[in-house]
């Protein structure tokens, strides 16, 4: 038994050596990155997640805008459905955002609901780089990250916030829906494979145009979760912070919550 396993490992090792001799190092590194991302997804996947978010936008002049929302998610990554409903201040209460993933790695369907108009409006592909209701997130940032839509490669390691991290480069596959980014650099904490930072490069940019930092990691219901999410527009100098509160995982979601009917329902969550 042990010998069998030894032979099998030896053969696998030989194959890897041969492959690396025949091809460049990226393919190998890519395979590693993919494995890491797969592992990360399997470790952090939850059936559902909901939280109350406290949103703060600080523009370059230091002007602060605050909002409150409730977020509901069902599924994860490539099969996620997301509903956000603003709760605060009263002037924006009821504004809703629904994002539904689509199969085959296509861009998700997204809608914004405005109670004053009593109607939803569809977010078109061309609008994916538009600011999400004045925050530093755009509509693409509001999607769940799905590594299947990217060509990934391990770039090395780096310490972020005193945590050793893997650095993974993710370049979107053009065929699976258009991305506003040319590439993303992901910083995955080595010990729990949790995403700590994401540098986002818009098309044609040499330097990252945006940076997302996830911090204040805690374990809730046995799941790691960053209670603070920060998106910086590096060129504009503005920052949007979301503080996650009342986080609950795997609570069954109401039937029909992630539908257009519910999005358009007065007082619907």
């Amino acid at each position: 038994m042990f010998i069998n396993k030894l032979i099998r490992n030896a053969l696998l090792g030989l194959t890897v050596v041969l492959m690396s001799a025949l091809s460049d190092g990226d393919v190998f590194a890519g395979a590693d990155a993919r494995a890491l991302l797969k592992e990360s997804e399997s470790r952090h996947r939850t059936k559902t997640q909901q939280y109350a978010g406290e949103l703060t936008v600080v523009n370059k002049d230091g002007k602060i805008r605050k909002k409150g929302w409730k977020s509901f998610r069902e599924g994860y990554s490539g099969d996620a459905k997301n509903l956000i409903r603003f709760t605060d201040p009263p002037e924006v209460k009821g504004v809703g955002f629904l994002s539904l993933s689509r199969p085959g790695g296509q861009n998700p369907d997204q809608w914004l609901y405005l109670p004053s108009m009593k109607r939803e409006r569809r977010i078109a592909t061309q609008d994916r780089d538009s600011s999400f209701v004045g925050t530093d997130f755009n509509y693409e940032d509001m999607e769940e990250f799905d590594h299947e839509k990217y060509k990934v490669a391990l770039q090395g390691e780096q310490t972020v916030e005193s945590q050793p991290c893997y650095i993974i480069e993710a370049i979107p596959f053009e065929k699976s829906g258009k991305s506003v980014y040319e590439k993303k650099i992901l910083f995955l904490r080595k010990d729990n494979l949790y995403l700590l930072r994401e540098d986002l490069y818009r098309k044609g940019d040499k330097e990252p145009s945006k940076r997302m930092i996830l911090s204040d990691l805690q374990q809730i219901d046995g799941h790691w979760v960053a209670r603070r999410m920060e998106m910086k527009e590096l060129k504009k100098g503005s920052t949007t912070t979301v503080l996650l509160k009342e986080i609950v995982f795997d609570r069954p979601q109401a039937a029909g919550r992630f539908t257009l009917q519910n999005l358009n329902r007065e007082g619907g969550d």
């Binding site: 108009m117 409006r121 609008d127 538009s130 004045g134």
Partner: protein
């Protein structure tokens, strides 16, 4: 030449300063009219074009459709290959409650996705948008340009009241735009709102005014236009912003081009003034000319001297006229802008800037007008032999030219004008130009001999009533035939213009009044839009049944008008419930009858066309009209042709069921409401207003009010024409003053002798006043047939050429009456200065005068 100018010309100007100034004024008024109209026209069309370009931003194509583009078309377009981005747009012009802030252009855009389209961001350096989420969440949100906000004293969070179709509505400033690019559209009087809020605000339903399209790199505009036309069908217009701008500019340019006629007339009258002034100057300076010739000056040098004087007058008059024009141009722009907004729903806001080209053109016009006016007299001066120049009085007494040849030529020219008008050998601008040229030449040739003839008849009559004044004025007028005919020519031209244009306006108005009485026969008109030609708001079709339930209402008909392109012209397609309409309305049929119309429209799916449509496109009963509907092209057989003044480009009328079937759009412009017999119309109106209040625009007018509002709109259209009529009268007034001043100056010696013989200043003054009255009377008598001809030409061939309408002729008795009252007063007023001058003349100095 410089020596001659300094010694001869300058001394003449010094001695006759008032006359020189009046001659100069002729050029100034003519040039000022031209330059102010031109610069206002240029600013208006340029402003409209600039607004179209600035608002278009990066859009390479724009999709529009009469009645609006349904929302779902945007998704359809986005799915097509070669499309990079699309953005819906709604545009509307509103006025703030504080009218002094000027019209405000409201642009409804999709703020979520507009960054791909406009060279403008709504955050960052370009704009200060306080809170984008709040902006989207609150339907009263608006972004203003900093320029407008400054003018209105608005800060972020402040609100402003605007007059919108639903009434007065307050909007809140939630952002400010930095004035550059897009934010400079409409002269900076710009307000941006969310396109979906604009739909509600302006009753667009689930439609946009247009969809702006940006193409993928590598996709050609022609290729994508073809793709879009194929995908969307013939009812949609797919065009580049440039083309759209050009079309709007063309529509407005056609409207403002009419004012060129006015400035042309002003200049023509100015030329006659100059001609007259120089003619007299030549006569007065015959001795000087004779001396010059005797001292060796060549005829060419003499001619050059007078032409140089004209050149100086042209330059100074052109310069002053251009400057004066700038002060009038802003007022002209305002009037033109208001009219173009009422008529076409487009206008521009801004300050008139005098373009260098207009300055150049105005200067050239001033110079050319002066040279043309002075050419004849200068030539005459150069041909004066020295011996004849010293023989005082011989020339003045000689009647001008060979009368018979002149009369014959005039009759031929005028006859040709009338014949050509009856049977135009060719069309377009060449026809108009030839008609005006021949008609003008005919009048010019005939005015001299005819005015002399008239004076020979009138002077004895005047002498019978006022023996001294009559004889004095008769001698003055008949004694210098050239001066008299020149003045009467300017006067007759002015009055021809006034009577002709006024007559045309009167005929048009009369025809429209008559039509309105026949067509607008219901008791109440429930309108969604204050503007007659641009729907600011449309009612939902369902309101029909609701209105029918209002106590006192007997019948409701739903009127809808769209303005699609037909053979490149913007015609009007109207629809209404025909059966009840025919019970109350009396149509004037030119082909077919009420039965063919009823059957054709209600049972056979046919249409009725207006008489001007029939004439313009040469289509009559039994022939077909092909219209582009959203589902494709539809052919309608013509059941009847009726007189209709709904559109100057032609109207097609169909039953509402046909419109609903092919256009799939149930919105309504006007609900025509008839009340039950005995019901109180005012009460029913109040009930309708109460039912609509807060939901829809409540523009409910009674029949009389509705007719009065349309009449007011027509009057507004003619407001500018009235200004030009006034200018023509002003030039005529200047003509009389100049002529009389010259007359007094020329007769200085004579007046001196008369005074020495005992003539009283009052007698002399009466003579001069009578001279003015006779000038005006002869001018008016000559202008009566000429003005009538001019009006007939405009109502007939000219109107038919541009609109297909032939207006029934109506003689402008009102204007004639006004002129009969005004002209003696104006003449007497014009005679006041010369009469005073004559009265104050000292006998010794006058007798010594050479």
């Amino acid at each position: 030449m410089r020596f001659l100018l300094r010694t001869l010309s300058l001394s003449y100007v010094r001695r006759h300063l008032a006359k020189t100034i009046l001659t100069l004024l002729g050029v100034v008024v003519g040039v000022a009219t031209f330059s102010s109209i031109e610069s206002a026209k240029g600013t208006l069309t340029k402003g409209i074009r600039s607004t179209v370009d600035r608002v278009a931003g990066k859009a390479q194509l724009q999709i529009s459709m009469e009645g609006g583009v349904p929302e779902e078309v945007q998704e359809q377009v986005r799915a097509l290959p070669g499309i990079r981005a699309t953005s819906p747009v709604i545009e509307q012009i509103v006025t703030p409650e504080k009218g002094e802030l000027g019209s405000l252009m409201v642009i409804g855009i999709d703020l979520l996705g507009d960054r791909e389209m406009r060279d403008y961001g709504f955050e960052g350096d370009d704009a200060d948008l306080d809170d984008p989420l709040l902006f989207l969440a609150q339907p009263d949100s608006a972004i203003f340009t900093r320029q407008f906000a400054g003018k209105a004293g608005l800060k972020i969070g402040d609100s402003i009241a605007l007059k919108v179709p639903k009434g007065v509505k307050r909007v809140t400033a939630r952002g400010l735009l930095t004035p550059k690019g897009f934010a400079e559209a409409f002269g900076g009087n710009l307000m941006v709102v969310d396109v979906y809020a604009a739909q509600d605000l302006f009753g667009r339903g689930r439609r946009f005014d247009r969809i702006d399209v940006r193409l993928e790199d590598g996709t050609s505009v022609a290729q994508e236009t073809a793709t879009l036309v194929k995908a969307l069908g013939p009812a949609y217009r797919v065009e580049t912003p440039g083309k759209r701008g050009e079309q709007i500019e063309k529509i407005v340019a056609n409207f403002v081009a009419g004012f060129n006629v006015s400035s042309g007339f002003a200049l023509a009258i100015g030329i006659f003034l100059i001609f007259n002034a120089f003619n007299v100057a030549v006569n007065r300076r015959r001795r000087d000319i004779g001396t010059l010739r005797a001292l060796g000056a060549t005829p060419r040098q003499v001619q050059l001297l007078f032409l140089t004087e004209a050149l100086v007058i042209g330059i100074v008059g052109g310069l002053l006229g251009t400057l004066a024009g700038t002060t009038f141009s802003q007022a002209f722009l305002k009037m033109m802008g208001q009219t173009s907004e009422t008529l076409y729903g487009v206008t521009s806001s801004g300050t008139v800037r005098l373009p260098p080209l207009v300055v150049l053109q105005s200067m050239l016009l001033g110079i050319v007008a002066s040279l043309v006016g002075a050419w004849g007299p200068a030539l005459t001066a150069s041909r004066i032999p020295p011996t004849e120049a010293f023989a005082k009085g011989a020339f003045q007494a000689r009647p001008p030219g060979r009368s018979l040849v002149r009369v014959a030529a005039g009759v031929v020219a005028l006859g040709s004008t009338i014949l050509m008008a009856l049977r135009p050998p060719f069309g377009g601008n060449p026809f108009i130009f030839t008609e005006l040229l021949l008609g003008g030449a005919g009048i010019v040739l005939l005015v001299g001999p005819l005015s002399r003839l008239l004076l020979l008849c009138l002077v004895p009559l005047a002498t019978r009533f006022a023996p001294v004044a009559g004889r004095l004025s008769g001698d003055a007028l008949l004694g210098n035939a050239r001066r008299t005919s020149g003045t009467i020519m300017a006067m007759a031209l002015s009055l021809t213009f006034v009577l002709g244009l006024g007559g045309y306006m009167g005929s048009t108005k009369k025809a429209l009044d008559h039509w309105m009485v026949d067509a607008l026969t219901c008791d109440l008109f429930v309108r969604a839009s204050a503007n007659f030609n641009r729907p600011d708001f449309l009612f939902p079709g369902g309101l029909h049944d609701e209105l029918l339930k209002v106590p006192g209402v007997r019948a409701v008909e739903s009127f809808r008008a769209t303005r699609p392109l037909y053979q490149g012209h913007q015609i009007q397609v109207t629809s209404i419930e025909i059966a009840p309409l025919l019970e109350r309305m009396k149509y004037d049929f030119t082909q077919g009858n009420v039965e063919t119309m009823r059957r054709g429209l209600t049972q056979e799916g046919k249409c009725v066309v207006s008489d001007n449509f029939s004439r313009r496109y040469k289509l009559g009963v039994g022939q077909q009209v092909e219209l582009a509907a959203p589902g494709g092209k539809v052919r309608f057989t013509i059941a009847a042709v009726v007189r209709d003044y709904g559109s100057d480009q032609g109207t097609v009328l169909m039953d509402r069921t046909q419109f609903l079937r092919y256009w799939q759009d149930d919105r309504v412009d006007i609900y025509d409401v008839s009340v039950l017999p005995g019901a109180n119309v005012a009460q029913v109106r109040d009930l309708i207003r109460a039912r609509l209040a807060g939901r829809y625009p409540a523009l409910v007018s009674t029949r009389q009010e509705f007719i009065a509002e349309i009449t007011k709109a027509i009057d507004a259209f003619y407001a500018l024409t009235r200004v030009t009529l006034f200018l023509a009268l002003l030039v005529a007034f200047l003509g009389i003053v100049t002529a009389l001043l010259i007359s007094v100056a020329e007769r200085t010696r004579e007046i001196g002798i008369l005074k020495a013989l005992g003539a009283l200043p009052a007698q002399l003054a009466r003579g001069i006043v009578l001279e003015a009255l006779l000038l005006a009377l002869v001018g008016l008598i000559l202008a009566l047939p000429a003005g009538n001809l001019f009006a007939s030409f405009m109502e007939g061939p000219l109107a038919e050429l541009f609109t297909g309408w032939i207006m029934p002729h109506h003689y402008p008795w009102e204007i004639l009456l006004q002129l009969l009252v005004a002209m003696p007063l104006i003449s007497a007023f014009a005679a006041w200065i010369p009469a005073r001058q004559a009265g104050r003349m000292k006998i010794v100095e006058a007798i010594e005068y050479e």
